[in-house]
Amino acid sequence: MTLLNRRKFMVSALATLGVLPATAAAADVAIVVRPDTPVDSLSLGDLRRVFLGDRQFWSSNLRVTLLVRAPGAHERDVVLNTVYQMSEAQYRQYWIAKVFRAEASSAPKVVYSNEMAVELASSMPGALAFVDASMVPKSLKVLKINGVLPGDSKYPLK
């Protein structure tokens, strides 16, 4: 069991026992970027445009790099259901077609853990990742989606 999984296990166990609030166990999915990325808030439509590869630049000199969790991750399921509204097969076909149509030079990069997402998002200018909201480090900026942050009852990425 990785350190992260151990931690999640402990948080979950404490929440079950009523020691910690349930929100910490059932965390939302946070959209994170480096602090120097010129964006603080996105509508769900804007976020969809980014995830679909229709918006590829934060600014003229800063290209978006998408980091997407590998299949099987809860965070990926949330993004596929809420943002893409696609099945796993549809998502794969979408990006194959997107590159084939010359609308994007590559599909999103795959990351295999929240730690990997955080580490890459921290080190790659323009990177955007989605991680368990309880795992967001100080080094990254959490974006508001539809004007709200993770933890808010109206936050869409649950």
């Binding site: 080190s123 790659m124 942050l149």
Partner: protein
């Protein structure tokens, strides 16, 4: 952290017995000790001070905790050229190694194998070769397509598509014709200034309608076995290829997601089904404008239209001006899928005479069934082309017909599909044609 946990635990529900609670706390504290020790070891081995997260208290984000030291990432050199890199492991995040190296070439492939059987016993009357209306039933090797993408920098990318297509005259002539035609279907170098402005040069699939630029030569990408005849490869109704330059971009436009393509190029060649790869056949460039929106409030919907103008100098017909207007409505989901397109082509002979208008269109719908792991998708398409006798450019090159296609697609994996369909064509002044068509198509 230990003091906070201890304080919280003191306020835990009274239902817990004191003994068991103390035991639990002791176990948790012990676990935390071991984890903290492990974190310290890892941070020490990395040689850097940890960045402990503290989300501002004002935010509703759950109180952040120190991020556990990251699981060591597998050290890898730059990933090799890969197909469909959505499954590829990205480069390691170690500073300079994180920076992409250029050029970065990726290759993908598409191919299909087909079977066709129809009641056709003579010439097909102008249908494209890939409609598979042949005089004899049998298997057919479809197209073998290689797609190359190479990023030359963060803003410059080269895209190309190479197809190999079986020839019907293989082995004949002197020297004998080869078994396959090799064709550079697309070769594009594009400079992305930003999302609103991208400029490119090369050979394209003309952005004059939806199908032509949505599916290209990837038979696996399209629901049906064959393209609609109005945009068929080797067909003449729409100029499928375009050599020149395009400016394109997209803007949010208040949630409408407005997209545009503006192009100038050589237009049709002396054989009107072909473009001017070697050069233009006259001094009049073809121009095109393609506009479409994909509104946020109806995610999946795309509505657009195009305008195209060219000067034609065909081998077998008089010179004429050509205008094309087209429109499309697409619901790009699978429950249901819906595509409808219409195009009008106007030809005005330079020497005077009758100005003629030819029309073509199709409506296609499909539905991904919720049963059997969603692997089945039945579909239906109705299409037509009408060429008036007065259209001397199209009269002998484009068939006039209406046709129906009914079939089913079975996705055997995420990257391969079987398709089976029945087609019926009602041709003007020629017998009707009907047939059964099978295909397996895939990407690799």
């Amino acid at each position: 952290m230990r003091s906070i946990l201890a304080a919280v635990c003191l306020l835990a529900p009274a239902a817990f017995a004191q003994d068991s609670q103390a035991e639990l706390i002791q176990k948790l504290l012990s676990r935390i000790d071991s984890l903290e020790k492990r974190v310290a070891e890892l941070e020490q081995s990395k040689g850097g001070a940890p960045a402990v997260a503290q989300v501002p208290a004002a935010t509703p984000v759950p109180a952040a905790t120190p991020l556990p030291a990251a699981t060591p990432l597998t050290a890898q050199s730059t990933p090799p050229a890969t197909l469909h890199d959505h499954d590829a492991v990205p480069a390691p995040p170690a500073n300079e190694e994180t920076l992409p190296s250029y050029p970065f070439l990726k290759i993908a492939g598409f191919a299909d194998v087909d079977f066709a059987a129809s009641n056709l016993h003579g010439p097909n009357g102008g249908f494209g070769a890939q409609t598979m209306l042949n005089q004899h039933s049998g298997f057919q090797e479809g197209q073998f397509v290689l797609h190359f993408t190479s990023a030359l920098s963060s803003k410059v990318t080269v895209f190309s598509e190479l197809s190999l297509t079986a020839r019907s005259d293989a082995g004949t002539g002197s020297p004998p014709a080869t078994g396959f035609n090799a064709e550079v279907e697309r070769l594009i170098i594009r400079y992305d200034v930003n999302d609103f402005f991208k400029v490119s040069f090369g050979r394209y699939h003309t952005p004059i309608n939806y199908w032509n630029t949505a599916f290209h030569h990837g038979a696996w990408l399209q629901t049906t076995i064959s393209r609609p005849e109005m945009t068929q490869f080797g067909g003449s109704f729409l100029p499928v290829h375009f050599v020149g330059s395009l400016v394109e971009g997209a803007a949010p436009a208040g949630g409408l997601n407005f997209n545009y393509n503006v192009g100038v190029g050589n237009g049709r060649g002396q054989v009107i089904s072909r473009d001017g790869d070697f050069g233009d056949i006259n001094n009049s460039r073809a121009v095109l404008v393609n506009l479409f929106v994909k509104p946020d409030f109806l995610y999946g919907l795309r509505i657009g239209g195009s305008f195209y103008h060219d000067q034609l100098n065909p081998l077998t017909a008089p010179a004429a001006e050509e205008w094309i207007q087209s429109g499309h409505v697409v619901w790009a989901k699978e429950t249901p899928e819906f595509i409808a397109e219409f195009a009008n082509v106007t030809h005005k002979p330079n020497s005077g005479g009758v100005t003629s208008n030819s029309q073509a269109g199709y409506v296609q719908t499909a539905y991904r069934l919720p049963i059997a792991k969603k692997m089945f998708k039945p579909y239906f398409r109705w299409e037509y082309i009408h060429v008036p006798q007065s259209d001397v450019i199209f009269r002998n090159a484009v068939p006039t017909f209406s046709g129906s296609t009914a079939g089913i697609r079975y996705d055997i994996t995420n990257f391969a599909a079987f398709k089976a369909e029945y087609r019926n064509y009602q041709r003007r002044a020629l017998p009707s044609v009907y047939g059964v068509f099978l295909q397996t198509s895939f990407t690799f």
